[in-house]
Symmetry: C2
Subunit: 297 residues, 2 copies
């Protein structure tokens, strides 16, 4: 299906809107504990692609929801994502020195500040949702419940635990899928469901979005594993050997490079199948997904 | 003013109710990531006195609120307190090996598990509040907003940042008060205000509770500093030299032992003055405060 949407421009424009709102939500300050916010901003504004909030906005738009009410709430998805990256990079987790070509937060700031800046982003995400203008009380509670669940002990955090335990235990492709359905899929699933809640979609639509998000999250993870191998350290900006140093299984180590490319394409189609039930097949979500996956394969 | 309440029994009974509910909220599980919950339970059930949830229940009872609706929400205060202790003990923060006579979580479990168990407790606290039975949507949002604010970047986390920065900077008594108003006072203030919200108290009462909580939190902190010096390591179960090793200023190093005892007593009276505006002077809150402070001086 051809589309008239300029997807590169869509991604760029929406990333700019999200960054401008994040900048308003977490401004520079002269508080005596200003280093906390400086640390949070260091990680928050370090070149992320804002995929999660953009997917939330796209879902909202596909369902004809009010985009202007969605911008603040979807920023919380980027805060949660950033907090999880900061904690993942710490010495007691992946022990990464670089992310996106820059020193990780605990290398640029004292490690205690990195720990606390992430805690702050997690906590502040929930505060923002209680105050989001233009939402009903029930929408706020739905968003908070969803975010806490998907970022929580049976969602993203479960994935992080499985991930560090996989360093010392054998992992097959089923185990790897479980890790990434939790670690990456859970928050992406929350992101697209955010869009549905913000558009006041019925439960059946939310269920569809939830499934799509989980499937597309897995596709993104496979592509990430491929990029970890194919991109040079300089270009990708990440210490390439970190996963190998940590003896971590990736899709590439399990399926090989070509096998992983095929798996990513299959996983993309599986995700897009979910969208068939939505009006216009959720054109934005599906076109963005295809664009992001296929230009990297 | 004499009271007929057996305060020791009150503290014991309510701690038992809170622990039973926490046990239901975070049960043992056979999930493949069960070590996450084992780690959380290790810290959650390691002999805490449950002061924050008990103060929330006492405030609710003083205002004739429904205690049976309060038990689940107040448990989130203990989760937040426990998360903050776990992160505070980590090597990049206070680097404590023992707490309450037991190895700290990162000594009993891998450090990554400790980090994530705390993240889980923080996140789960918000999830529980969205699901708390018998509360109105507005009560839920009020509780979530309050907890996120007081535990957040201008509350408890600000205190933690100021605390680690105080290791390398001179701190006077004003600076020390600022640290502890954030680090200890903010969550205690949230606790007593929780009681007010659960009792559907008007804003003026919430404001009074908030001020009382902040003042009594400071009194507790002074007593804690005194105990750190007077209690033997075995009895108190904490590596006594940790604050000194970290060159931390405490009330005892600033005011001396006798000066600190007087400061704690003065601070208690300042807190209790706030309660004069409440019905029956908030008998439970005031009696519990006096009991907890005075038996330790």
């Amino acid at each position: 299906m051809k589309t008239a949407i300029d997807l590169a421009l869509y991604l760029k424009t929406h990333a700019q809107h999200i960054e401008a709102r994040l900048d308003e939500l977490i401004p520079e300050t002269q508080e005596p504990y200003k280093r906390l916010f400086q640390a949070a901003r260091y990680s928050l504004f370090s070149g992320g692609k804002r995929i999660r909030p953009i997917f939330a906005l796209a879902a909202c738009q596909d369902l004809e929801g009010p985009l202007e009410h969605a911008l603040t709430p979807v920023c919380t998805l980027e805060m949660i994502h950033t907090y999880s990256m900061i904690h993942d990079d710490l010495p007691c987790m992946d022990n990464d020195d670089f992310r996106r070509g820059k020193p990780t937060l605990h290398k640029a700031f004292p490690e205690g500040h990195a720990l606390l800046a992430a805690d702050y982003l997690l906590t502040y995400a929930f505060e923002i949702l209680t105050e989001a203008p233009d939402l009903t009380s029930d929408q706020k509670i739905q968003l908070i419940a969803l975010l806490a669940k998907q970022a929580g002990g049976h969602g993203m955090i479960a994935g992080q635990v499985l991930d560090i335990e996989a360093e010392t235990q054998p992992v097959d492709s089923e185990g790897l899928e479980r890790i990434h359905r939790c670690k990456t899929g859970a928050l992406l699933s929350a992101a697209v469901e955010f869009g549905g809640i913000l558009a006041k979609a019925p439960e059946s639509t939310l269920e569809t979005l939830r499934c799509f998000g989980s499937e597309i999250g897995l596709a993104f993870q496979i592509v990430d594993d491929i990029l970890d191998v194919t991109a040079s350290e300089q270009k990708h900006g990440r210490k390439l050997s970190s996963d190998i140093q940590n003896s971590k299984k990736t899709y590439v180590t399990l399926l090989g490079l070509e096998g992983s490319k095929k798996a990513a394409q299959d996983q993309l189609e599986k995700a897009l199948d979910q969208l068939d039930q939505l009006p216009h097949h959720a054109l934005l979500l599906s076109e963005l997904s295809r664009y992001i996956i296929e230009r990297k394969l």
